[in-house]
């Protein structure tokens, strides 16, 4: 409870600061609206349904792009972990492109695809894909060799080895890559949409983290015994 109150106080102070800066009239209200104006706008948008519609569209773009990134990223990560050739080519490409902020893709996507859904999707996929590839590869490479040896003696081979030993052993890494990918996808979409619903985006992003990733991470830590607490 005390923790919650402290956190609440922190955000209250943040809003007060915002109000104070607004009142100081450093920037015109068009550039920096007051907290009250923002809330009124959001209320209006929520009441006439435009907020809801916009949220649904955003979520759909995000989910579709994220899924495409996952479906492409997982197998690519496995390939780069398994074969040197893929590691030297796709692995290097992934490493390079991952360091590129996804915002950089926005102008290119707009030029290539125009202001279409395809442009949005492209940006989201680019945000997700590479971190998933890299996390999967790292995860597979970090599987303790003794697991593989133990499984070998018990008769596990090829596909069985991949699906029953290596993938589960690499899962904690892969999930943290998926989480990072989600954050990147979110940010790239924000960049692509560049509209004034920043707060909504932040809140939904946080919620997704708490609702979706936290339980998975908790489960993994419990099972794998990697919890630091």
């Amino acid at each position: 409870m005390k923790r919650f109150l402290l956190a609440a106080a922190f955000f209250a102070v943040l809003v007060l600061l915002w109000e104070a800066v607004y009142r100081a009239k450093i920037w015109s209200p068009v550039l920096l609206p007051s907290p009250r104006q923002v809330v009124t706008y959001l209320e209006g948008a929520a009441a006439d349904g435009t907020l809801f519609k916009a949220t649904v569209i955003t979520m759909r773009r995000l989910l579709v792009g994220y899924l495409i990134g996952l479906v492409m990223g997982l197998p690519l990560g496995l390939l780069t972990a398994r074969w040197k050739l893929f590691h030297d080519t796709i692995g290097t490409l992934a490493l390079g492109l991952q360091t590129l902020p996804s915002v950089c893709w926005v102008p290119l996507a707009l030029l290539w695809f125009g202001q279409t859904e395809a442009a949005m999707l492209f940006v989201v996929v680019m945000g997700t894909l590479w971190s998933v590839v890299i996390a999967t590869e790292t995860g597979v490479r970090n599987v303790p060799p003794i697991y593989r040896r133990a499984a070998l003696t018990m008769g596990s081979k090829r596909l069985h080895m991949w699906f029953k030993v290596i993938l589960p052993a690499a899962l904690p890494f892969i999930v943290s890559g998926m989480k990072q990918g989600w954050a990147f996808a979110w940010r790239s979409l924000m960049a692509a949409e560049v509209i004034g619903i920043m707060i909504v985006i932040v809140v939904i992003g946080l919620l997704a983290d708490k609702i979706f990733f936290s339980p998975i991470e908790k489960f993994l830590h419990r099972r794998w015994g990697t919890s630091q607490a």
């Binding site: 003794i146 040896r149 133990a150 070998l152 003696t153 018990m154 008769g155 099972r223 794998w224 015994g225």
Partner: protein, 276 residues
């Protein structure tokens, strides 16, 4: 002629099967290290009879684990032959299962799932049979109550018990044990010495057991082979003829252990003078 598909039952699966004999002949193995190739095994020959309990003793780095890995089929010798029941070993197989020093249990499976892992890879068994077999072995190692525990919740001793159950479950003919008790406290270890002797008697396995603990070797082995390091060779062989089950603290056993320790020490001194 078509071969009839035969399903074996859980009771058949639990039958005691004849253990293997091993014939290791002139096996050499090199490793590459930063300071050039290291001869880990130098023309090692050794026979293990059906159902025999053989302990390999020696200082760290004397190649005893390498030999165990070669018998397991996890590594290939540079030269020499390794036969199990007269057939060359070409790769790992569930006839020869390994119990590793660090528990190689899978943390994404619970205790039961770990014991079931090898059984699931055995064809011609129904799932119910597999579960029955897994339950039998968990009971054998005294962990029935922990079927659904997560691996990291277990103590070191319990982990090694699960490893033992997992290695026994597919009913191998040979059990290869690589310092399985080295990381355990003395009390837990002593319990496990009793258990492993009982299980060995009940399940009739050929066991090759690697350790650097001389007393442990004298307590468990029919024969104790002393390995010398650099290059790895079988230096001396001791037969331990004591009635079983043996108590690690008995006086007779201590006498055997002293004999082996002396030989081990003189080996170490010989090497020290050679190094000078």
């Amino acid at each position: 002629m078509r071969r009839a598909v035969r399903r074996s039952s859980a009771t058949e699966e639990l039958e005691v099967i004849p253990p293997s004999k091993l014939a290791i002949d002139n096996v050499s193995k090199n490793f590459r290290s930063a300071s050039g190739p290291v001869l880990a095994l130098d023309r090692v020959s050794l026979n293990v009879a059906e159902g025999e309990f053989v302990c390999l003793v020696g200082a760290s780095g004397c190649g005893k684990t390498t030999l165990l890995n070669i018998i397991a089929g996890l590594e290939k010798p540079d030269s020499g032959t390794v036969l199990a029941d007269g057939k060359p070993i070409t790769g790992p197989g569930r006839e020869r299962l390994v119990m590793f020093q660090e528990p190689a249990l899978f943390p994404w499976l619970d205790v039961f799932g770990n014991v079931l892992f090898g059984l699931k890879l055995k064809p011609n068994l129904t799932n119910k049979d597999r579960r029955d077999v897994a339950k039998y072995y968990l009971e054998l190692v005294g962990l029935s109550r922990f079927e659904h525990a997560n691996i990291h919740e277990l103590s070191g001793g319990m982990k090694q018990r699960v490893s033992l159950a997992r290695a026994l479950a597919p009913n191998p003919r040979v059990l290869l044990m690589d310092e399985p008790f080295a990381a355990l406290d003395a009390l837990t270890r002593e319990q496990l010495y009793g258990d492993i002797q009982e299980i060995w008697k009940a399940r009739r396995k050929t066991i090759v057991f690697v350790t650097h603990n001389v007393r442990e070797a004298a307590c468990l082995g029919d024969r104790v082979l002393l390995f010398s390091p650099h290059p790895g060779r079988v230096q001396e062989e001791f037969t331990v003829e004591l009635p079983r089950p043996r108590d690690i603290n008995s006086v007779d056993l201590a006498a055997h252990a002293t004999r082996i320790t002396k030989a081990l020490k003189s080996l170490g001194q010989a090497e020290a003078t050679a190094a000078k």
